[in-house]
Symmetry: C2
Subunit: 332 residues, 2 copies
């Protein structure tokens, strides 16, 4: 009888603690509705609870709550190819109309023909020419309109949605959850800063000045700011911490990426915390059915060093297939 009583008390205690922890978790993170219970969700909730509790020794004051997010493959779908690359190819026709001599160059002809193999063969120099000619030669204001128009009309080849609807619902929830807890959220992407800014506020709640990205050289003449064809900053890999210093000026405490181009951003975020807390996460594309599955063998979103290094570094791998109950907002 005594044994049965003890067993009942133990069972009751387990049930009670289980129930109370469920209540606490759901209270704390209602925003994270598309995140299944599991280590990724738990890591987020634990981190936010800890650093926002003023009595906790790991408390982080609000002005230091800086969270940085890669964009391609972390916030929106980057497959089958970076959306900005599709934008450049779509722009070639308009550019050739004004500058027909460009047709003589292989990379532009390949773009017109939609010949992706020849495009790939044109190498870094060819791609740079293509990006320069399609992104430069107009005022900063005109380029904003061009991007906005394209974003409204272009559709993702598989999902048949505008590209800025092919964003990850769980990551939108995470952005909201962090902001609700006093974080400021920034995009730090290898993509073009001015290609992102026209739509990040509406899509992610991220203001133009909170977008860090690659850029072309700008110049002021005839009373306005013009975009040149010269790329002056490639915000990828080792340049991501540099881009953060240039534009944000405060070392982040949370960083989210998905490819090896995010490695140094995560590394620098982690080491900046010293003995304090930080949250570094990698979105791992594991769901071929609902999205795409790729990592080490992929050119777009190549992920190898990050996977090998994550456990040792204390970075959390988000398994899209297991951790996310829903991927896109347009799913019902």
């Amino acid at each position: 009888m005594k044994k049965i009583v003890i067993l009942l008390i133990m069972l009751f205690t387990v049930c009670l603690s289980g129930a109370s922890s469920v209540i606490a978790a759901s209270e704390d993170a209602k925003e994270l509705a598309s995140w299944k219970e599991g280590p990724s969700r738990q890591a987020i909730v634990d981190f936010v609870r800890t650093v926002t509790d003023s009595k906790n020794k790991y408390f982080i004051p609000e002005h230091k709550r800086i969270a940085v997010f890669d964009n391609d493959g972390t916030l929106w779908c980057e497959k089958p190819v970076y959306p900005q690359f599709i934008f450049a190819i779509d722009r070639v026709k308009a550019v050739i109309e004004k500058r027909p001599e460009l047709k003589e160059e292989a990379v532009f002809q390949a773009a017109l023909d939609g010949d992706h193999d020849s495009l790939a063969k044109s190498g870094a120099e060819g791609i740079q020419k293509l990006i320069g000619a399609t992104h430069g030669g107009m005022t900063a204001g005109n380029f904003q309109s061009i991007v906005s128009d394209w974003m409204e009309s272009a559709r993702h080849p598989r999902f048949k949605q505008p590209y800025n609807k092919c964003v990850y619902k769980p990551m939108l929830e995470l952005l909201d959850y962090l902001r609700a807890n006093g974080f400021r959220t920034f995009i730090v992407s290898g993509g073009g800063r001015d290609f992102m800014r026209p739509w990040t506020k509406e899509t992610y709640g991220v203001d133009a000045e909170e977008v860090v990205g690659s850029s072309c050289h700008l110049e002021y003449r005839d009373g306005d700011v013009y975009r040149t064809e010269k790329i002056d900053f490639l915000n990828d890999g080792k340049e991501k911490p540099v881009g953060i210093c240039r534009q944000i000026g405060i070392r982040p405490v949370a960083a989210f990426g998905n490819s090896d181009g995010d490695f140094e951003m995560l590394e620098w975020t982690k080491s900046g915390a010293g003995k304090g807390k930080s949250l570094c996460m990698i979105v791992h594309h594991t769901d071929a059915k609902r999205e795409y599955a790729y990592d080490r063998a992929s050119k777009v979103g190549h992920l190898e060093r990050g996977l090998d290094h994550a456990a040792e570094a204390g970075w959390v791998i988000i398994d899209m297939q297991k951790d996310w109950s829903r991927i896109f907002p347009f799913e019902d």
Copy 2:
């Protein structure tokens, strides 16, 4: 009798309308306590009232309410010489201790001797060397600490106050007033971005990412971001609109400057408004007694094109002596 009654009614009406306009003005701009009644104060209040009134045809939605402020001579005192230049000279001793060979160069010896004439003679190349050696060669984090320490210990030669206390009270009020009306406030200065960031939040309520300025080339190595001695952006004159595009990404509707280095920023702000409203103002240093009086003949804060162009362009000149009842917060 009838005439007297009419006269009384007229007088009463005038008094009443006068009283009500005073009440309305003080209701609208309590924050502007150090601004005397006059055209400058009126221009600010009129602009803010107009563009924040959703029924007015000149209404500006909140996300477009971007206001940019020069720093040296617009928000803080730049005389007798730019505070950042004093910082550089103060740093020379620490630099020479580590690199005694620099003593052989005239510009460093002049700085050590406090010989301002020789410093001036060393020209742009010399000054660039001095800035490079005193601002580069450490991590971004270390430089923040160096600036913060200096700001705490250094004193303005005339006012005997820390430099970030020698800020203009009316401009602090203007920053608050604009923010209270849904504006975001940015600093766009020729001064060093990373020299300003450590103290702008506390001093002006302006976050690190809201500070646009000149900068040196940064590089990531050994897990941290290092400052090099190479200046990579001089945020002055024609580069101010460029700096705004790079970092803010939205064309401002209000701009405040004090020297010809702000000309293009004001010009671009004004022309961006098209037929809409903008507010462009120049702080004119006219008060030798309470601060300094200078414009066309001064090297520091040189103002000539701005004065000649203001009336035609519709820019408002702030007369420090006439428009400001109080200049510094430390005055009683």
